[in-house]
Symmetry: D2
Subunit: 344 residues, 4 copies
């Protein structure tokens, strides 16, 4: 069985396991106050061209999202996201459990549109009864989005402009950032992200680490007391160095980018095969997640040897599935899948 259901089916990139083994018996202080976290943070500031950024390492994505949003908002504010955003639908109401509404906008090819955002903000702040409704307090986007699509530099700048108008921090969830940075033709670099976002994170869990997300805060007003919040939300790992060691490894010698390139290349191979076979493409994604519609009979045949994530049923006899590659996907597995698709 070859698994294409997600990008976290395996353990960690071998270089990460090696680094963990090599440092295993060293003694360090806990809670992220060790030299490995310090070094990884310095490296991140450097590659983000953000020498004054604060960097914190958290265990996972839901934690990172909740911690950042809870730290940024006042009680009567909410987070604006597209309706299919991770915080809106896949975190069991973690944001609401922290007391905040998720205000949703319709996605456009998975992305938030700056005009939609401006209209929502304008409607709120122009309303004389606005205190009866939740105030937009932070803007949450993902890059790549939930469906693998990418913001352009121009689109991100447009969102930034609206955020500036209304004094809203812009928060970018980079759980799959590796696959976005590595995509062909993208004009969004880490430097651009650091310049345009108030806070964002570089995802490890889905890009070669055992676990871990590196939160980068560039806006001074969000920096104060952030570690209290990490601790309160359960995100402060006792052996914090595990995160430092992993990110220090991932971000050295372009490993992070290579991981993204590898997965994207294999995903595009699957995409070409599906298109050649005439399968309908549900989303036009340039990254490691591909969304195609299969006849149920064909899918049943494939699922004897391959796993995918079901997304929805556009009609009674077809299913849209997500096909994921990762740093760990092999040419063997992908070739086998492509052959099987071609042979349908």
């Amino acid at each position: 069985m070859f698994r294409f259901e997600c990008d976290y089916c395996e353990g960690a990139h071998p270089l990460i396991l090696q680094a963990l083994a090599k440092t295993n018996l060293e003694q360090t202080p806990g809670y992220g106050l060790d030299p490995y976290c310090t070094r990884a943070a310095a490296r991140i500031r450097q590659i983000c061209e953000a020498p004054k950024a604060d960097v914190h390492f958290l265990v996972g994505g839901t934690q990172a999202n909740t911690t950042v949003i809870a730290a940024a908002l006042r009680p009567w504010q909410g987070a604006v996201a597209v309706s299919e955003g991770h915080i809106a639908v896949h975190e069991t109401g973690a944001i609401e459990a922290a007391g905040h509404k998720v205000l949703t906008l319709p996605p456009h090819n998975g992305k938030m549109d700056a005009q939609d955002l401006r209209a929502l903000c304008k409607a709120h702040f122009d309303d004389s009864s606005r205190e009866h409704t939740v105030q937009p307090g932070i803007v949450y986007i993902s890059h790549p989005t939930e469906t693998g699509t990418l913001y352009t530099l121009h689109e991100l700048e447009a969102l930034r402009a609206v955020c500036d108008t209304y004094g809203l921090p812009l928060f970018l969830d980079g759980a799959r950032l590796a696959y976005g940075l590595a995509a062909e033709g993208t004009d969004l670099t880490l430097g651009n992200l650091a310049r345009l976002c108030d806070v964002f994170y570089i995802g490890g869990t889905k890009a070669g680490a055992l676990f871990g997300e590196a939160v980068v805060i560039t806006n001074d007003s969000l920096k104060k007391d952030f570690r209290y919040n990490i601790k309160q939300r359960g995100g402060m790992l006792a052996k914090g160095r595990l995160l430092g060691i992993q990110f220090d490894t991932l971000l050295r010698n372009s490993l992070y980018l290579q991981i993204g390139q590898h997965a994207d290349r294999l995903a595009l191979q699957i995409r070409r095969t599906c298109l050649e076979k005439g399968l309908p493409m549900a989303v036009d994604s340039p990254t490691n997640q591909q969304f195609f519609v299969f006849p149920d009979t064909a899918l049943a045949k494939l699922e004897q040897n391959f796993t995918f994530s079901p997304i929805c049923k556009p009609d009674a006899s077809h299913t849209e599935v997500r096909i994921c590659t990762s740093w760990a996907s092999t040419d063997t597995a992908v070739n086998a899948l492509c052959s099987a698709i071609s042979a349908l």
Copy 2:
């Protein structure tokens, strides 16, 4: 420098790293639905003699405490703990952030006294204005306690009896359970814990794992929908198998017990040395945490080569410190420390 400040200064027990490396490229489903978690859970049910228990693997202690307590309580209920309990003072208000007050009782040698608990419950439930105060809703204890002391079977049964009278679940935080189970003369076994507690956890982070706590739920009424709560509180690891693999390793061939015995033996060696030196013992602890009072001048000398955790200053020229051993403490380090203490 030898570190004795805590029991999480190193990575993981070598057998755990080995197991992670060996399974690294295997593909499994995520979120704890993999065969390793299944196997570790089965092993835990067996050694706890609790064939119907639910077992969940969470990343860390603050998460485990918040998740269990939030799942067990209704909004107007609080958790009863001793005033120095971890949830009362060392989790940045995580329980309150989940909406619940921590109701405190004075510790007796670190432990909660059943008579105190009964008095608190009686005072509440007999009060005709009780709806103006927080209702006791769960009892939280640690074993070993924050100061390394241990409940006896008799003491735990007494707490259980009060819980039965007032319909309260009993929750035991076993972050350092290894060191308690391994202590000489203890009559509290895993089987007893599973029989007397409604929910408890077997700590991994402080006992040889990279991270992880295994929550064991024996009370049926706490089982329903628990995974929703894990996800919401940020405790559901994408690569959940990392937890399964670690606990499967820890709990095989008595490794967990050996880890505890090793650390306890070295802690008692330090304790004997301190007592022989005439240093005042702040707590009479039979486990891996020892609490002694040092003259500040002597401490300054020791701290050139050893680290400890400061606890408090009983007077202007003395300091109480915590000295911790762990699975990773070496005879070399402990002998060096003991020589240094003797030479003060």
Copy 3:
């Protein structure tokens, strides 16, 4: 200036002020434990044909909604409402501040459709990854709805059937219940509400009281400890008797129904006038709230002497407004408005 912007522009029905004045210097226990609350609760049980119901008096609607929903839900559950429901849009995220997501369905003439509800529940409970999403935990509807429309007995029974299938309590917000019970042709009686809902409230604030909502709980599982929750959410009035006295007055001699009839009659007079004038009706409401679209020039003229609530602008030169009558609306005011509309 005649105000038609809402149904809470005045103080209280004169009989209520009389009752308050008459009892003013009597001494009673506080917090709703007085004879007036007892008597009003007994009266409510009687007219609802619900001899075992618990009745609680709260100050306002947002409080009543938050208190009931917080008491009914577990942390990982949400409240299902239509997207224009009061809890979804007009309470500044009070439900989210209590930790819960509001899951929304599209309104059909302001109402929740039983098939929509069933589909949402089925999608959730059939999803093998459901623990990553918020679990439907209570169903919230308003009667009359936000746009003044009414459920039929048949529609309410259909919602009840879905609730039974999925074990969900049905909660009806009756902030304007007077105007619903009094509407011509309605087949929903208080007895039916008490039989079909697990909990609902009889609104006072918008129907002749100074303030106050009477929460009626018929489902035993929601009764326990409810007063704790009222106190915690700030809804327990020290001088609770003010609520008892008001509801005792409102519900005696059919005053509540008369209040509703009076307002509905006047609203329908306005409606007829608007229809005769050819103004587009935005919602077909049989109760005290009417929604019509006016040319902006005509509206400007009317607003010299009358106030309305703006709802939206269907195009650049038209505005939809809400016109409200209440127990306090006078024939004089309504006739003046109708003449002014006719004269446009």
Copy 4:
């Protein structure tokens, strides 16, 4: 039966009922945006000598406390109070339900000591592991305290100085402020309160109003968006004018002060009688709450005609009770009580 159990046994001061009746059929906007609220706020700014203060009217004390504290704190901060403070013990965990711990200090004659506060803040902010504990974020005191005692100007200035050192807002709960302002010999005026506190409230519920607390915010940083928070916490009364009318009446022609003087005078008469009888005084209170210890047999006799609040049982045969007077207490009732005590 004469009731001395609390200061909210009756309705409202007759002048308030009169004012409500007189304005009953006037039409005003809702939610506190009416001319009566505007006028009452202006009056409050004037008598507080705080021309820039924001004034908001809330329904009750628990609401006022929760709303102010939730608006002032960030998630990782707590409110500092004495251990017998209202928010610490008598609000069913409302502050915790809003996500915040109440950090407690021992009371000194009911009051918070500035040195204790300084020590708590210093211990926190000097702790290198402070992010594992709740950060002090606001200081909450009551005046009069829960036991009727009063801060002196000097004591309040000392607390202010600590607040200034640590950047903490000082919040004063004035639920019984009338009885404090009216006490003989007090040097705390409304002007002093407004100058020394960042936010405080003038209590109506316990001092002649049907209900209502007037929150006065002098610190600019607490003013922004406060109305959102009132709405979210359920404290925004639809018929907000009821609060404006009441406070406008209470604060005109020194009525508020007269109410306090009346109750304090009667309380001191009871106090003298108890002292003459040789009953032990539990608290030395100069205001409307008196705390005395009675033999249980004597108390049983008194309770045939008078009600009190039980506080505690200092031994098996004695009970400490609270005896309250109010604006509504009559000389007849107090004389009867004093005679009965003298005759014991």
